[in-house]
């Protein structure tokens, strides 16, 4: 059962310099209980995808076309009050730099309570307190945190509290957008374990967004690789890692150092991501593609094509040899 299906999503931002197409024709699906990863470099559109799912994009952002089917219902055309019902109790999100997610003048416990009250207005104060204590248990926080203000907590504690907040309304799907980027490696490991534990215990679906491909490898069942607003490769994580088809995916893997094995010189990609303002059709990766040949047709429109079991790759790379 697919908890989420995204079909041909397009999202753009209106800016002084023009329309920025941040999300181009993105399609993927997430099953119940599955952990799905989105990887790509900064500015490739992964956060925009996350925001679109909850329709939280900035004021100048607009979903121009596509469908987002959550739990069987398309949520793209919904009005504000209907969306508010889905937010948090259906889909919740752990933001990048989640430490700033807290209102500095309100106690932590009260902020979590607020979310619960919004979606379950009939629960009593005691029930809510009990629930919060349970959540804190899951993420490893002491219950005294409830009465503290955000600035009294360390970064790691705030992060755990954010996860507790995200779980507070029993959502079916959680989006984690680079939740550990600002933390040190030790805490990062702990948080990742928490998330995995939570997911397994509660049977939630998870969309994990990161630029760190190593984390994606560890955390996800299926994944998508994004570049310049499009998905260039999509499929089971294991498959993609053992058998990457797209040139970009290969470059990503090759540029990550490995602790085991021989010392290998890292290969990095030349050039920069393209400007998303120009509405170019055709392969946006072509200028940087190390496998570019004369036969590579730059004006060929990008389209996903199946190359393995559930493994899709952009059409350009599909025809390439290993």
């Amino acid at each position: 059962m697919n908890i989420l299906e995204v079909r041909n999503l397009n999202m753009s931002y209106k800016t002084i310099d023009g329309m920025v197409e941040a999300v181009k024709n993105v399609s993927f699906s997430v099953k119940e209980g599955e952990s799905f990863g989105i990887v790509g470099e900064s500015g490739c559109g992964k956060t925009s995808v996350a925001m679109s799912l909850l329709q939280l994009q900035a004021d100048n952002g607009e979903i121009t076309s596509g469908e987002i089917i959550f739990d069987g219902k398309d949520i793209v055309g919904l009005n504000e009050s209907e969306l508010r019902e889905i937010r948090w109790s259906g889909i919740s999100i752990v933001f990048q730099g989640a430490m700033n997610s807290w209102n500095p003048v309100v106690k932590i416990g009260e902020q979590i309570r607020e979310a619960i009250r919004e979606h379950y207005p009939n629960k009593t104060k005691d029930e809510n307190s009990k629930k919060i204590i349970e959540l804190f248990d899951i993420v490893g926080l002491d219950q005294s945190i409830m009465d503290r203000f955000p600035h009294e907590l360390s970064g790691g504690m705030k992060q755990r509290a954010v996860i507790a907040l995200a779980l507070s309304c029993d959502p079916k799907l959680i989006i984690a957008d680079e939740p550990t980027t600002a933390l040190d490696v030790v805490i990062q490991d702990q948080i990742l374990n928490e998330i995995r534990k939570v997911q397994q215990v509660l049977g939630l679906s998870l969309i994990y967004i990161s630029h760190d491909i190593a984390v994606i490898a560890e955390m996800t069942d299926n994944m998508a690789v994004m570049y310049a607003g499009r998905i260039v490769e999509l499929g089971p994580t294991k498959d993609i890692f053992s058998n990457p088809k797209h040139a970009y995916t290969k470059s990503l893997l090759e540029s990550t150092p490995s602790v085991v094995g021989d010392k290998v010189k890292l290969k990095s990609l030349e050039g920069e991501p393209p400007s998303l303002i120009n509405k170019e059709s055709g392969c946006s990766f072509a200028p940087r593609c190390p496998y570019r040949e004369d036969t590579c047709n730059p004006s060929l429109d990008m389209k996903l094509v199946e190359v393995g079991i559930d493994h899709y790759v952009d059409i350009c790379s599909a025809g390439k040899s290993q």
């Binding site: 209106k14 800016t15 002084i16 900035a58 004021d59 100048n60």
Partner: protein, 354 residues
């Protein structure tokens, strides 16, 4: 090195262009700018009109001009009790084209005669777009003169004030210690003094002219609370890493002060300047309104004269004596304030719309 200078010039030019585009985006800023430009236009219009001879100085000079408007008046006698058939209240008599026989001292006219008299103050007419005041001076010309005064005074005092506070603020931030403590206490002292009474005192022992007032306002403003704000801004810059690196690479104190700290404090100073102008214009108007200023013509003075001559409570009958001046002060100060808000949006990205 020549290349470097060219490059930095180019960067500065592009930065200016970018700032201008951002400013244009701010609706408030643009409205304010239009208003300010309108009044600026008014202030330069007057000398042009005189210079090109389109306006006869004898007639249109705001201070000594005199315009005769002769008109026929019907001589009436105003009753002692109201209301009567003809008049509802005491302000209705004498009417527009009538004159009370009791005010005619030098004439033998009787009730029912028509005489020709000079109409002052005269309502707006093609010759005088906003009418004349009780001395026969053209109101529109006065407005333009007042505009000149406002601009000169406002900009002068604002520049002086901002100059002083920026200098003191940066010095306080930079040298710290006793210097800082002294400057902060000085600001406290100035803040404690009530502004208006202080201005009264000063005007009581010195006949203030526009220049004097500008200097006084500028100094008081410059030494006051703005020093504290600039100092805290300069402090933020001081702890930034690039200042340390500048020091390491051998920059002298002066050099660091001018090329690093000042440019970062400049936006805030500019903002202060714009808001100071509004304060200066308002202060001048208030002082003129109370008759404490030795000035030939300004908007505040126009209202002072109107009040002293008793036209305020005549309401709409003599509106041209009161409304243009009051509205001018309101709109020009408002315009500068809006420009300040627009600049705020340029310098503070969080305030922009997108």
């Amino acid at each position: 090195m020549k290349d470097q200078k060219d490059i930095s010039k180019q960067i500065r030019r592009e930065a200016l262009k970018k700032n201008w585009t951002l400013f244009k985006q701010s609706k408030l800023g643009m409205i304010g700018l239009y208003i300010v430009i309108f009044f600026f236009f008014l202030s330069i219009l007057q000398p042009i009109l005189f210079a090109t001879g389109l306006w006869n100085k004898g007639v249109y000079d705001p201070v000594v001009g005199y315009s005769e408007q002769f008109q026929e008046f019907l001589v009436v006698e105003c009753p002692t009790e109201y209301p009567t058939e003809k008049y509802d209240s005491i302000t209705d008599c004498p009417g527009r084209n009538e004159i009370n026989v009791r005010t005619l001292f030098y004439s033998d006219a009787e009730v029912g005669d028509t005489i020709i008299q000079n109409l002052q103050p005269a309502p707006p007419s093609p010759k005088h777009i906003l009418g004349t005041d009780s001395l026969g001076r053209d109101i529109f010309s006065q407005i333009m003169e007042g505009s000149q005064v406002a601009f000169i005074l406002g900009l002068l005092s604002a520049t002086l004030g901002v100059g002083i506070s920026t200098l003191l603020g940066t010095i306080a931030a930079f040298f710290g210690g006793k210097v800082d403590a002294y400057l902060m206490r000085q600001s406290d002292l100035i803040l404690m003094l009530p502004t208006l009474p202080l201005l009264f005192i000063i005007s009581a022992f010195a006949e203030l002219q526009v220049w004097h007032l500008a200097v006084v306002l500028g100094t008081i403003g410059g030494l006051g609370g703005s020093v504290i704000t600039i100092k805290s801004q300069a402090l933020q810059v001081k702890v930034k890493p690039f200042v340390d690196s500048a020091r390491i690479t051998g920059g002298s104190q002066m050099n660091i002060l001018f090329s690093h700290v000042l440019p970062n404090v400049a936006p805030l100073a500019l903002l202060f300047m714009v808001f100071s102008v509004t304060g200066a214009i308002a202060s001048e108007s208030v002082l003129s309104f109370l008759g404490l200023l030795n000035i030939d013509m300004s908007w505040g003075l126009m209202i002072y004269l109107a009040q002293v001559e008793g036209f305020i409570f005549s309401g709409m009958k003599f509106w041209w004596l009161i409304l243009p001046a009051g509205l001018s002060v309101t709109f020009l100060t408002g315009g500068f304030y809006l420009v300040g808000r627009g600049l705020d949006e340029v310098f503070n990205p969080r305030l922009r719309n997108r």
